[in-house]
């Protein structure tokens, strides 16, 4: 079963990491990702730019464009993974491994309903 792991973290905090701290986290995360990839269990993954770069379309009539992220929360959606896991326990294990590499914040583990891998031309 596919699970989306949605990464929430305080972006002020993440933005206060030094370059070395950021690189350390990314290196540790890479190890977890590589391990999943080797088992053929890692789908698309993304690190999102800061919420300040976001815009939100509210589907009112007429639709309204708002600057900033959809939800004003203490922790923000900063990235996601799609991973193949047998069950929630296994998905939680992946999240724990990722969490050990990147402390703080929270992961929302969300089973995927339908999955379209898509195809980017570039």
């Amino acid at each position: 079963m596919l699970y989306a792991i949605l990464c929430y973290h305080d972006e002020d905090f993440v933005g206060s990491w030094s370059k070395e701290q950021d690189a350390t986290v990314m290196r540790k995360l890479r190890l977890v990702q590589d391990n999943l990839a080797k088992q053929g269990r890692l789908g698309p993954a993304a690190r999102l730019l800061p919420t300040t770069a976001a815009a939100t379309l509210r589907k009112e009539e007429p639709p309204l464009v708002i600057d900033g992220p959809y939800a004003e929360t203490k922790e923000q959606l900063l990235g996601f993974y799609v991973v193949d896991c047998k069950n929630l326990d296994e998905a939680l294990d992946v999240a724990r491994d990722l969490g050990a590499a990147n402390p703080g914040g929270a992961y929302e583990i969300r089973p995927v309903g339908s999955f379209m891998p898509g195809g980017l031309s570039k």
Partner: protein
């Protein structure tokens, strides 16, 4: 989270909100800073054992406030001052009341106020920057001194002086009205840009120490944008800083010499920063409320979008500079525009454009660098040499001087230079 480096990052990110709230509470900068300092020390002891609190800023505000009140109580016990009773009972608020006073609706104005008092108009730019880095960013005096290439004692004195001047001035604690808030926002934006430039206009050998200032400016710009997410000029400011900073790795060669934009290895440009900058410009443009930061960011975006120097849309850059000239007339803007004009219409037209600037830019390094380059393109080599000599005399950094010297060397070597400015 046992590593103190992570606690440092948490303290740094909570600092503007916490110090801002404590400042509103105590209405005294030193007290607020000291309270935050005390809270930070307690955090270093408590967080590794108990884990970090969910809301680090709220924790620091509460602990800092209590520590400062204890301090006042101790002082009062030592030397009772009856007339202070009122003040003390004021400080004795129930925690719910405090929670209310520290409620999120103040968050934005707290941080804006904290930034704003650093850009008091009576403070010279260097003091504004130093103060903001100390108070808002929480850099140590030593770190700031290193970035400014002055001794720690000199920097300590500069910050103390700035603080004294601010203490004399009335700090505005009322919640600002819309017009005042907009004015504060622009003053703060200007200061953030100053911090960025302090880190950007450096020579290669000191780039590492000062580059941190540019990164800090970007962090502050993002913070400001999070507080005011719909302000196109703040989007423009953040975009401008990101697009310029994206070129950092390509700006200096191995010997620390400056590399001109058109000679830079564009593969070294940071694509993530460029993506963020372009996204912000896109958002800003939708507001159709132009401003100097947006225009400058749009110019930087045109450079970022050009895969090769010859792909640069100089005609559009010329138009953007002419818009900037109208909005913010300055000889430096005209000088920059002339570079675009030289690409579109040739060096002769560009030279004509900058001649009237000579009296006002007679001590400006870039004026003579640009003038020399135009003259060189027109094969007026003797005049070019004079201009370059003057530029070297006015150079602010060794990298700037070295760059001009390359032009001079080429003039000596090559009696009939081609029509490019490139030194490589």
């Amino acid at each position: 989270m046992t590593d103190t480096a992570w606690i440092d990052a948490a303290l740094t990110s909570a600092r503007p909100q916490a110090v801002g709230a404590l400042l509103r509470y105590f209405r005294d900068l030193d007290t607020a800073e000291e309270a935050f300092q005390n809270a930070s020390l307690r955090a270093l002891k408590s967080w590794p054992q108990n884990g970090p609190p969910r809301d680090a800023a709220a924790w620091l505000i509460m602990v800092g406030r209590n520590a400062a009140i204890d301090e006042v109580r101790r002082e009062r016990w030592k030397a009772p001052l009856p007339e202070d009773d009122q003040a003390i009972s004021d400080l004795d608020d129930a925690e719910e009341q405090l929670a209310e006073r520290l409620d999120g609706s103040h968050y934005r104005d707290d941080i804006l106020r904290l930034l704003f008092i650093c850009c008091h108009p009576e403070l010279p730019a260097t003091q504004q920057i130093a103060l903001a880095l100390r108070i808002v960013s929480g850099l140590t005096v030593k770190q700031i001194a290193r970035a400014f290439l002055v001794s720690e004692a000199a920097m300590e004195q500069r910050i103390t002086r700035a603080k004294a001047r601010i203490a004399e001035a009335a700090v505005p604690f009322e919640t600002p009205g819309a017009v005042e808030r907009a004015e504060r926002l622009l003053a703060v934006a200007a200061m953030i840009y100053l911090i960025f430039n302090e880190g950007y206009s450096v020579s290669g050998d000191t780039a590492a120490a000062r580059g941190a200032l540019s990164e800090e400016a970007i962090r502050l710009a993002r913070l400001l944008l999070r507080l005011f997410p719909s302000e196109p000029e703040i989007m423009g400011l953040a975009a401008l800083l990101l697009l310029q900073h994206a070129r950092t790795a390509a700006r200096f060669d191995a010997t620390g010499e400056l590399i001109l934009l058109e000679d830079q290895d564009r593969a070294l440009w940071n694509q993530t920063m460029i993506a963020e900058g372009l996204a912000l410009i896109d958002k800003a443009m939708r507001h159709r409320k132009s401003g100097p930061y947006q225009i400058q960011a749009a110019i930087a975006a045109l450079h970022a979008r050009a895969e090769r120097p010859e792909d640069t849309d100089w005609r559009q850059i010329d138009l953007l500079y002419s818009a900037l000239e109208l909005m913010q007339p300055s000889p430096v803007v005209t000088l920059n525009r002339a570079v675009a004009v030289s690409k579109v219409k040739g060096a002769e037209a560009a030279l004509e454009m900058i001649e009237p600037l000579a009296p006002r830019l007679s001590n400006y390094f870039h004026f003579f660098g640009v003038r020399g380059a135009f003259l060189m393109q027109l094969n007026r080599n003797d005049e070019a040499r004079v201009a370059f000599d003057r530029a070297i005399a006015l150079a602010n950094t060794s990298a700037e001087a070295a760059h001009i010297r390359k032009h001079l060397d080429r003039l000596m070597r090559d009696s009939t230079p081609k029509g490019t400015k490139s030194a490589k």
